[in-house]
């Protein structure tokens, strides 16, 4: 029913005793997430709010609790170290919420994760600088408001935080639920990219449609769009924020910048349309556009079914024709 995280996920919180860590761990547990461990170096052996056991290292925590998902709330200067620590300890899904990590640190952490991936031990890093991942009704690993989500069959991938909430809220209000929503983050170097998430959603039999919310900067949306064109049969809807953003200025996210005339919204939208993605023109119409795509899919399925019926009908008709011919003979 979901990708990467589900009700079986055992979640470990790195930086559980900090302000952010404490607040969001409370929220995650309230949502029903199975938080099995916290890590704060120096506080190992104590308990977090009498609920979660704290460890000094991720390695110890994994050994004892079998945690398989980690979420990182440690400050920017230590966050890439936390990512690498999780990866080295065998965590499979690493969600890094922290904002403001130096690019140099992230290129190294990313490279380390790639090297483990090459050994066949696949790791999904989500973020950094992201809201996290949620499989509605099952597991929330991140800082998104849980109540706006609804369990269902649309997979959502986005570079943004509040814009994702906006889109999810529109979907839920239209009665359209989500299988999993991933905020991949707004930084120039991120773990899971659009294309990686699209691949996972494409494989997930319970995801019927995919919503991609991108923004200016880089070419990750185009990369995913070309993949979708060649490999994805499920309907895909897209939106790109920043049509009115000026070139050369960083629009809040470190990665949201049009540089050297590249990475404009117009460019991305054109490629997405060319690859068969239905692109919402207005941010107010994201939910509606998904609905249109889902309705169109239903119609075409019905059409196919009735086509098949017609064909059967034709065959029968032909057979009966033959019979009548025979009879005539």
């Amino acid at each position: 029913m979901s990708i990467l995280v589900n009700k079986k996920s055992k979640v470990l919180v790195q930086g559980i005793t900090g302000g952010e860590g404490t607040f969001h761990t409370t929220q995650m547990i309230e949502y029903g997430t199975n938080v099995v461990a916290g890590v704060t170096p120096g506080k190992g052996g104590t308990m977090w709010q009498e609920k979660v056991k704290i460890f000094n290292t991720v390695k110890e925590a994994v050994l004892e609790t079998k945690a398989d998902v980690s979420v990182i709330f440690v400050p920017a200067g230590f966050a890439s170290d936390a990512v690498i620590e999780s990866a080295a300890a065998g965590i499979k899904v690493i969600v890094c919420i922290t904002e403001g990590i130096p690019v140099r640190d992230m290129t190294r952490a990313y490279d380390f994760i790639q090297s483990i991936d090459k050994n066949g031990d696949e790791i999904s890093l989500i973020g950094p600088n992201c809201p996290g991942i949620i499989s509605p009704g099952e597991c929330k690993v991140g800082i998104m408001p849980g109540f706006i989500h609804k369990k269902g069959k649309v997979g959502v991938i986005s570079r943004s935080g509040t814009l994702t909430y906006e889109a999810v809220d529109q979907l839920t209000k239209l009665g359209i639920g989500q299988s999993t929503c991933i905020g991949i983050g707004g930084d120039p170097v991120i773990g899971t990219r659009f294309i990686d998430a699209v691949k996972l959603f494409n494989k997930d039999k319970d995801t019927e449609a995919i919503l991609m919310i991108g923004e200016i900067g880089g070419n990750a949306e185009e990369e995913a769009a070309y993949y979708i064109k060649s490999k994805v049969k499920k309907p895909v809807v897209g939106f790109i924020a920043g049509k009115t953003a000026p070139p050369g200025r960083r629009m809040g996210h470190a990665g949201a910048i049009i540089s050297g005339g590249k990475g404009t919204a117009a460019e991305k939208i054109e490629v997405m349309k060319e690859c068969g993605i239905l692109v919402a023109n207005s941010p107010a119409e994201i939910g509606l556009t998904v609905k249109i795509a889902l309705d169109a899919k239903k119609k075409s399925l019905k059409a196919k079914k009735s086509d098949k019926k017609d064909k059967k009908h034709d065959k029968k008709a032909k057979k009966s024709d033959k019979k009548t011919i025979k009879k005539k003979k």
Partner: protein, 404 residues
Amino acid sequence: MKLHEYQAKSLLKKYGVPVQDGIAIKVADDFDNAVSQLREKGINQFVVKSQIHAGGRGKGKVFNKSNREELIVDGGVKFFGANVDGAREYAHKILNNILVTHQTGPDGKEVQTLFVAEGLDYKKELYISILLDRSVSKNVIMASTEGGVEIEKVAAETPEKIIKVWVEPSVGFQAFQGRELAFGLNLEGNAFKDFQKFIAALYKAFEELDTSMVEVNPMVITNDDKIVALDAKVTIDDNALFRHKDFEELRDLNEEDPLEIEASKSNLNYIKLDGNVGCMVNGAGLAMATMDIIKLAGGEPANFLDVGGTASAETVENGFRIILTDPNVKAILINIFGGIVRCDRVANGVVQASKNLNIPVPVVVRLQGTNAEEAKTILDESGLNLISATTLAEAAEKITAALA
């Protein structure tokens, strides 16, 4: 954070990158002093370079600061050879006047610093830069025989003339990559050897200074076959500034928009634009989407403003203040998606801020998320000129109406 050429060169020099020598001056009277210091180093040819955070300086035009119309001189960078008198006169003319280049926009930028530098005789201009290649999350070194022109132009017209080498993060820059680049640039003899040291030092500087980009355009081969950085553009990764406390003094606030500086003091991320509808939003992606919807509603965004996660009365008030300093603003759209932050709290903040300030334009407030209904009631019953909306589509309609 962008650096000036003279700052970039002094940092690169510390890493052993051979750079054009020079002295930065802020008052024209220091010119002679700078020249005599350079002469002591055996330098007898001079070039005067305006220091602004924009490219295209050589082909720019300098205008009188008081009327911004009178053309003072063509070119923001000039070579004078041994003609010190000419250089001195030029320095006096351009300092504290406005340099307009194709990158500054029509308003140009005031020249507040000059780099009085060694005039080099060279036989070839080359291009070299290092930056992150986002598509593979690795640093890429780009080199080209087409130095002295914009790399975007080369990329568009003759992409085969750009050589790229990607650096593996686990092993770092390797000597063979230096050779690959040098062969690609058709370097020979001493220039080939010199380049190996040059590029290794440049890459080390790129990494250790936490830069997001280093561009040397042109890198020149001098008449005596040495490799020298004639220009240098360095941008520091803002996220890494916490480990380079000494870089704070390199920040040139004159190059930044005063409103943007003011906003950053209140932890607001503000970018001024040219439109007529101001906006205040929580989150960067939603802020961009809000700008887009303003345009769809028939307006033009006057700014980008991300108030961050909290959106308290204080941040909202600061946001209003900053938006209202722009006389072009005819309406304001507040768009907050309250997830963790509760909408009724934000609504109270908006009401309080509106009472404290006298807001002369209509304000459309769209609050969605936790306690959105209560928030709407608070706004509607405030007795203030606040127009409430719950969906984005409704907010857009109300902006259209407010502009009519």
